[in-house]
């Protein structure tokens, strides 16, 4: 099975590009920040500099771990789902679930090692740049010199390997548990109901987010910037909760919009039927939009509120506050990067998967423009739903922090910041879906439907 894993890796490199990219970027970020620990262990590093470096490494490292697991799981799930037919075939000729599981995990582990090794060089550069940033903002004295050592390598390789394997195990369990005929059916329609476990986890994450919000409003009230510690993650927790609920949300949205969309003629009609039958794929596509919007809006407005409060108090920022601001921006950068990869990957994979369906629609009499129109409608609905859910999740961070920091639930910051986030989400979704569909339409319809 391991042999098969490597053959499969080589043959279907395309399906693994996104998984590889998220592992590679994840390892780069992890090692760059972990090298701050190596740097903190240097000879002439003392007191505040040491603690700044350590905080930076552990906070971002923790975030990185979470993001890598999430991104790798989502990209791997897709690449496995794309190969549902191949999996079903392997099962039908007698591969046991355990063998398939070993194949999936083997692929992921192999990829992770290669990705982490390749990430060392860029991580050294990124770490050096990060320390430069800390020097320039006087958070760390200039005589502290950069060091990339055993901690960075061990953490980078270890975390990437463990999180990729973990993600693969999760994926494999799900992929191999379905029976042969079921997976053949699911491969053609792709309608999976959210499991009870998924709903329980969704409830858990939303409760945690609510808990953080309440703690921020009560216990952290008038504690100044410290309120960030509890309110900062509420948006992500709420976003993950909503993302887990996304199959239900997409179904509800489809139900609500079915009537109005149908009035748009055949294009709207096709969009509605597709969304009905492909809730799973739609939910997968809306997830990164929710995460993207929630973290970007939540963190940007949190920081804007914090800045406004400091300004109102008429004091200069301390090194600590500056450090937190840098951290916030780094976290947003990371989240934006990862969710963008996830979003593009999900849409490209989902669209490539539909090449045949597009061909069949064209043979039934659809012009290329009608196919593009259907995809455009679906993208609009995805973006609007994702942005709406993401904004709701961001409220869990912004409003409690406003109440705690300056007794007002309305955040500071410009409406243009919000619109910029929304525009970025819309452009990413729209451009990717359009480009991928155009590509799929280049194959003549008769060839596109060849199995």
């Amino acid at each position: 099975m391991i042999g098969l894993a490597f053959r499969s890796l080589r043959k279907r490199a395309g399906a693994f590009v996104a998984s590889f990219l998220s592992m590679f970027l994840g390892a780069t970020i992890l090692m760059a920040f972990a090298s701050m620990l190596d740097t903190a262990n240097g000879d002439n590093v003392t007191g505040t500099a040491k603690s700044t470096l350590t905080t930076m490494a552990s906070v971002v490292g923790g975030w990185g771990l979470l993001l890598v697991v999430f991104a790798v799981t989502s990209t791997l799930t897709l690449s496995v789902r794309q190969r549902a037919a191949e999996m079903a075939l392997l099962k039908s000729i007698g591969a046991t679930p355990a063998q398939l599981g070993r194949m999936i995990v083997g692929e992921a582990a192999g990829l992770a090692v290669v990705a982490a090794l390749l990430a060392i060089a860029p991580a050294v550069l990124a770490g050096r740049a990060l320390l430069g940033l800390l020097h320039d903002t006087h958070q760390v004295p200039g005589e502290v010199s950069y060091s990339f050592g055993p901690i960075a390598v061990a953490m980078g390789l270890g975390i990437t390997f463990v999180s990729a394997t973990l993600a693969a195990l999760l994926t494999a369990r799900r992929a191999t548990r379905v029976r042969v005929t079921e997976s053949l059916m699911a491969a053609s329609t792709g309608t999976a109901k959210p499991s009870r476990k998924r709903l329980v986890f969704a409830g858990l994450f939303l409760l945690l987010a609510l808990d953080e919000a309440i703690v921020t409003c009560t216990l952290m009230r008038d504690k100044g910037s410290d309120a960030m510690a509890t309110s900062g993650q509420a948006d992500i927790l709420a976003a993950i909760g909503l993302a887990l609920l996304s199959p239900l949300i997409m179904r509800r949205v489809t139900g609500l919009l079915a009537g109005p969309l149908r009035m748009l003629g055949a294009t709207g009609d096709l969009a509605v039927t597709n969304m009905r039958r492909r809730t799973g794929a739609m939910a997968a596509a809306v997830t990164p939009i929710i995460l993207f919007t929630a973290t970007a809006v939540g963190t940007l407005f949190l920081q804007a509120t914090e800045n406004a409060a400091t300004r109102a108090a008429g004091v200069a920022k301390t090194a600590d506050q500056k450090g937190i601001e840098t951290l916030n921006l780094v976290v947003i950068g990371m989240v934006v990067l990862f969710t963008a990869i996830m979003l593009v990957n999900t849409l490209v994979a989902a669209t490539a998967h539909r090449r045949r369906e597009f061909g069949q629609t064209r043979l039934a009499g659809a012009t290329p423009r009608q196919v593009l129109g259907t995809v455009a409608l679906e993208s609009v609905i995805l973006t609007v739903t994702g942005v709406a859910c993401g904004t709701v999740a961001a409220v869990f961070t912004i409003v409690p922090f406003g109440i705690a920091r300056k007794d007002s639930p309305t955040p500071d910051g410009s409406v243009w910041t919000y619109l910029a986030v929304v525009a970025l989400a819309a452009v990413l979704t729209g451009a990717t879906a359009y480009g991928a569909t155009r590509r799929a339409l280049r194959t003549p319809a008769v060839n596109a439907v060849m199995p």
Partner: protein
């Protein structure tokens, strides 16, 4: 242009006009230097209300012929007329609009949309064409093919034979002048194949439609009014009132003949090279 229009109208009123005409149709695949001539100047004329089978060895150009005639592919040279109107247009959208009004197509692999129900699949061509969806008509056609009870099923819930009958209903729903089938029984068991052939025959005999069907099965070909034989991209024979035995015999000869010709051509080439 005005002539075409006249023919068009005549065709619409009198069912016994010409449904399909190909004039010197050529189709060459591949780039310069590595070209395959799939169709080498094919000319045919098929009257409205006829049922024609196209037979020939594998790779003789049957699928290409059908796709060029049905506006799914554009010929490299020559002209195609469906129901008196020339199949022209320089992009996919134009060809699609041409097909919507005149042509139905049935594939070996059914090509139903997996996410749509039987009824939705059948009415899809009407919706895409922006025509009024006459559900009574669609239901009547589905009853005709024996699937009146399965309107809300998904294709994956039907057998191959049933799926192909849905595909036939979908091809007939727009009331096209010509229905093409590329090995429509190729993926079916004998019984389902017989049902499908019976339906195509009925479309011709009862509803006056024109059917052109590629097949490699002599029994399937015997359902047609006449058989065209294709070899190496050319029409090499025609047999009216085919029986399965006669067609089978002809095919055996054809295979031998092609073999001999290819051997001769190979010998010539070898001679020329030397």
């Amino acid at each position: 242009m005005s002539r075409n229009k006249a023919v068009d109208q005549a065709g619409a009123s009198a069912p016994h006009g010409e449904a399909l005409r190909l004039e010197g149709v050529r189709r060459v695949y591949g780039a310069e230097g590595n070209q395959v001539t799939a169709l080498d100047g094919v000319s045919v004329s098929l009257p409205a209300g006829s049922f024609t089978a196209v037979m020939g060895p594998s790779g003789s150009g049957k699928s290409t012929l059908l796709q060029c005639a049905a506006g799914l592919d554009r010929p490299t040279g020559g002209r195609v007329f469906v129901d008196g109107a020339e199949l022209a247009g320089d992009n996919e959208a134009a060809l699609t609009r041409f097909r919507r009004q005149r042509i139905g197509f049935v594939f070996q692999q059914f090509n139903l949309l997996p996410t749509l129900t039987v009824m939705q699949n059948v009415t899809l061509p009407l919706k895409l064409a922006g025509r009024k969806v006459d559900r009574r008509h669609a239901r009547a056609i589905l009853e005709r093919v024996g699937l009146g009870e399965r309107l809300d099923h998904l294709p994956a819930e039907l057998s191959g034979g049933q799926q192909q009958r849905v595909a036939i209903a979908r091809a007939l729903v727009t009331r096209p002048r010509v229905v093409f089938g590329d090995e429509p029984t190729g993926a079916l068991d004998t019984r389902s194949a017989r049902d499908v052939l019976g339906l195509l025959q009925e479309a011709v005999r009862v509803y006056g439609q024109t059917v052109v069907m590629v097949t490699h099965d002599p029994v399937a070909a015997s359902y047609a009014d006449s058989v065209l034989f294709l070899a190496d991209g050319r029409i090499v024979g025609h047999q009216p009132q085919p029986t399965a035995e006669a067609v089978a015999e002809r095919m055996t000869h054809l295979a031998d003949e092609v073999e001999r010709q290819r051997a001769a051509a190979g010998a010539n080439m070898a001679g020329a090279n030397r």
